[in-house]
Amino acid sequence: MTMVEFFSFLPYGKYAFYVWFAYSISAVTIIILFISAKRNHSNTLLSLSNKYLRNK
């Protein structure tokens, strides 16, 4: 059984695998961008705070 046949129970039948695969990759990429941007901001705040405390 191919991936296309396996995922054909989803909406869009024989194209389901391709359509949902494309949308999933896009969603994952955007979520990674968001999480890394947010995490980077929090880490920067923490490291700057530690630096200021050390220099006090």
Binding site: I25, A37, K38, T44
Partner: protein, 245 residues
């Protein structure tokens, strides 16, 4: 308006603007994305030739347009930084690069996935695909060059020159389907593009959502970059203390 733009050259004002923009862009982005997805996946009818497989267009086309638009913004911001020495323009250029690269990756990946059922191949060395791949390499080169220097001003100068030189690739990507006999279809927007109103609405919604996503991500990433660059300023010390406590 012009005065407002000029005031953004100040790191503190720019940081505050970014902070203010985030909530204003987040909810409209989520709303437009949800509406766009509903229009793309539910309301839009199946294509008469490609069936439901064409629905990849609603992520492929906006991300492809954004990949070029972000590169143009990055090069223009880099140019502004080079000519007028505006540090905040350098920040915009720097933080735009990974976002543009992500849009390029989405465009290439969704295009490859769309190509398999329609062309029978994940990838062909077609002019449009190849020039878009070169765009990804340009983004990667920009990011590598920007991180290769310790001094952010030197990094911004050298990477901005690369970004400006790379602008030549944008008309090549855009006109590749006209200049060469490519396997890639012609323009999806405008003359010869999609005709169905629901499809056009879905595409417009997803495109607007992509623009909001870009502004949102630039705002989030730019404020971090401003904090790092201005870490010795008294206002940053106060800001960090107030946020941590």
């Amino acid at each position: 308006m012009w005065k407002w733009i000029q005031r953004q050259a100040s790191p503190k004002v720019f940081y505050q603007t970014c902070n203010r923009l985030i909530p204003w862009f987040f909810w409209p982005f989520i709303s437009l994305l949800m509406l766009g997805l509903y229009w793309s996946l539910v309301i839009s009818p199946a294509d008469y030739q490609q069936g439901d497989g064409y629905r990849i267009i609603f992520i492929h086309v906006p991300s492809a347009i954004l990949s070029m638009m972000v590169y143009a913004i990055m090069a223009v911001a880099g140019g502004i930084g080079l000519i007028w020495q505006i540090k905040m323009a350098e920040v915009v250029a720097k933080v735009s690069a990974p976002i543009g690269a992500a849009f390029t990756i989405i465009a290439l990946a969704s295009g490859a996935i769309w190509g398999k059922p329609m062309w029978g191949a994940w990838w062909v060395w077609d002019a449009r695909l190849t020039s878009e791949l070169i765009l990804l390499f340009l983004y990667l080169a920009y990011m590598s060059l920007n991180s290769a220097f310790d001094n952010p001003r030197t990094a911004a100068k050298s990477s901005s020159i690369l970004a400006i030189v790379g602008l030549i690739n944008l008309p090549i990507i855009h006109y590749s389907v006209k200049w060469w006999n490519t396997l890639h279809q012609g323009y999806s927007v405008g003359t010869g593009g999609i005709k169905d109103t629901d499809m056009q609405i879905a595409l417009a919604l997803m495109f607007l959502a992509s623009i909001l996503l870009y502004v949102l991500l630039v705002s989030i990433k730019a404020r971090t970059e401003v904090l790092i660059r201005e870490q010795n300023s008294s206002w940053v010390k106060e800001e960090v203390r107030s946020l941590i406590s």
